[in-house]
Subunit: 424 residues, 2 copies
């Protein structure tokens, strides 16, 4: 089936906000096995909205609209979508009660125009909104489906996951099931080459690759009559991918991020961690702090952007800084060792590099970065050459710092196992 | 004039990447006084691309397409756009030479399919690409303009600023000129209320508000025959806005960010800075490190996510941590004071809060954050209640930390001036 996405909102047309809903919905729909050929954005203007919805309904099976469900007169999505299907609006007492309850919980009262949000097209399904007052709407007519969602992502995402995904799943003959093999430390084109034969030969399941900074996601999607059958189809393909990519696979769980995988590895071995950051200025620690409950592992972070701080906080010798420069393998190594000495953390990670736009030279160009990781006294240094602007170089550094940490902890794990075996 | 944006790329339809080009181009076009009624995304499929371009050319004066200019057979944007206008493609020797030079600089050789990128529709203007091999293309026919840009933002943005903006400016009768008054520490709805009378009465210039985390941008746009006249029209409105918002205005320069304004204030008064972060885990320092050349000011950053680190690195008393809890005004204050004591920095900023999803209680719910700023011994603590997920709460904390720093340094500035006056 073909799905089409329409975002409604002048703020997107003005460039005030980025249409992240489209990326979210597209990825979810692709995961459900739906094809998406068009996305569009249109403002809160009846004539243009009418044209856009008619066009979309004409060429796609499912049209998902987001935004324009607010209580003001400007909000026209529901009224216009109902017009396209020739449906009238009626007051839905259930939704009215939900809105009343929503306001009562917050100790406030709805305004008169809030009741506009309780008006539902005839025959439509109203979808409860746990995070706002605009209900979602599902309409169906002659095999065409129009789904209306509130615009704010914190309302749209939970509603989509709770109510819309099951609806879309039920529309399809059989079941679509996906699993993502997440790989780090291998570039997208190399990863693609490594699975090209599988992609060329694929029918069901299919494999799609998605590039993230420092990571590649390999999504395996199968269609079958039941979820059990789909899972059976996927299993050997996931196994094959895991065999090919080996240690580069950090998870096959949808929600697990790279930083989470690293934190789980730390916890598994009861390792504490400290960061020592120059060019990333706190971004490595911030990625680790993305993981709730990291306080058990993260002892401390040192941000030593200035040379003085590298000397004072991490004990990097002034003579070394002078001789080799702050951006050098030697200084990165000393930063990691210094962080370990001062924090007593088991694992330390250090970054130093030239993020630009200035400060580059022929010998040390913008994008040159050294990352050092120390695990219980064993230090590994990586020289990297990144491209892009200041932010892109720093983001690449952070991703590669996490990847190096993972690599070093895995080596430590291997040695532990060897030692255990030798003991037996 | 009406502009329409079309992004071409299957990776956007799959949700692999977010269409940030659309937000960038929309904002720039709005600044040029162009109206944008539609944005769309379509894949690398000739029939659908043809339909989309025809539709866009039919209803808009200017169609800007991005993506699909690569060297492979999949890349169809140029060929399809030329087809819509009935133009044939010819080899452009200039562009061929530029591509040759691009590869020579990198010590590599173009592949055969790179010459596809030197093929230009008859009568079209080829626009040099300083960051890649795909030239931009401008075509014009019967008052309709089609502009083709490469998809990667690091190629699209410089090309748009250097070559496309002047072209679009020249299309318009007269000149459109904008200036942005950037305000911090005032919510969007309050800011809107404060200028509602000006917005209601406006004809030329117009005022539009854009909300960012912790900030509001007020963009003043004037249309006139010459840039000089437009600037004259804008000047009193900018002055009026500055009068109304007073100290909340941190810049009227397009490129200046909040962190940059803070770093400039630090430099102005020769103040050094250190950060002490708990819930933000390095994000405040990372924002400061966004500013090139911050190493003169940023002495050090302490990431003290764990209570132990707050005690060891910042000297926060264990008894205080136990009595008041890590998330308290008192601990925030001690963190800022401790950072000052250990780093000797003039300004220190501390954050501690509950970012969730767990760890909240009735007394201290998720979203409760304390921020403390110390300027030469004078400490100010701010209690905040943020909503949203873990990342949103942390981003709001970072923005408010910068805002508090700015506020405290401005107070210090005022006192300095008072002291100087008293001396005179």
């Amino acid at each position: 089936m073909v799905v089409e996405l329409v975002a409604v909102g002048t703020e997107i047309l003005l460039g005030n906000i980025v249409n992240t809903n489209a990326a979210y919905l597209s990825e979810k729909c692709a995961g459900l096995g739906l094809s998406c050929y068009y996305q569009s954005v249109v403002g809160d203007n009846e004539a243009r909205l009418l044209e856009t919805i008619k066009n979309a309904v004409g060429r796609s099976d499912i049209v998902i609209l987001s935004g324009g469900l607010g209580p003001t007169e400007d909000d026209l999505t529901k009224e216009t979508a109902a017009k396209v299907l020739g449906k009238e609006l009626f007051l839905d007492e259930n939704i009215k009660a939900q809105i009343q309850e929503y306001f009562a919980k917050r100790g406030t009262k709805p305004t008169d125009n809030n009741w506009k949000q309780a008006m539902i097209p005839e025959g439509a399904i109203a979808v409860e909104n746990n995070n706002g007052t605009a209900p979602g709407i599902i309409m169906e007519q002659n095999g065409k489906h129009i789904i209306l969602l509130p615009g704010p992502p914190n309302e749209l995402i939970p509603m989509f996951e709770k109510s819309i995904m099951p609806y879309l799943k039920a529309l399809q003959p059989g079941v679509i099931y996906s699993k993502t093999v997440k790989v780090c430390g291998i570039g997208e084109s190399k990863a693609e080459t490594m699975v090209q034969d599988m992609i060329d030969a694929q029918t069901n399941p299919t494999i799609a690759t998605y590039a993230k900074t420092g990571e590649v996601y390999l999504r395996v999607t199968a269609a079958a009559d039941t979820e059990k059958e789909a899972k059976l189809l996927i299993k050997p393909v996931v196994k094959q991918l895991k065999d090919r990519f080996g240690n580069a696979v950090y998870t096959t769980e949808e929600e697990v991020t790279l930083e989470q995988a690293v934190v789980e590895l730390l916890k598994k071995h009861n390792l504490t961690v400290a960061t020592a950051e120059s060019c990333t200025g706190g971004m490595v620690a911030a990625r680790l702090v993305n993981v709730p409950g990291v306080s058990e592992s993260l002892m401390v972070g040192y941000i030593t952007y200035a040379d003085k701080a590298k000397h004072k906080l991490l004990g990097v010798k002034k003579s070394l800084l002078k001789k080799k420069g702050a951006v050098s393998a030697e200084v990165a190594k000393e930063m990691a060792k210094g962080a370990a000495a001062f924090s007593k953390a088991d694992v330390t990670i250090a970054t130093t590099g030239i993020a630009g736009p200035d400060g580059g030279s022929e010998k040390k160009p913008v994008g040159l970065v050294y990352i050092a990781c120390n695990v219980k006294g064993k230090v590994k240094v990586k020289e990297c050459h990144f491209s892009g602007n200041r932010m892109k170089i720093r983001e690449s550094t952070v991703a590669n710092a996490l990847i190096l940490m993972r690599e070093c902890i895995l080596e430590y794990e291997e040695e532990l196992m060897k030692a255990r075996k030798a003991k037996d």
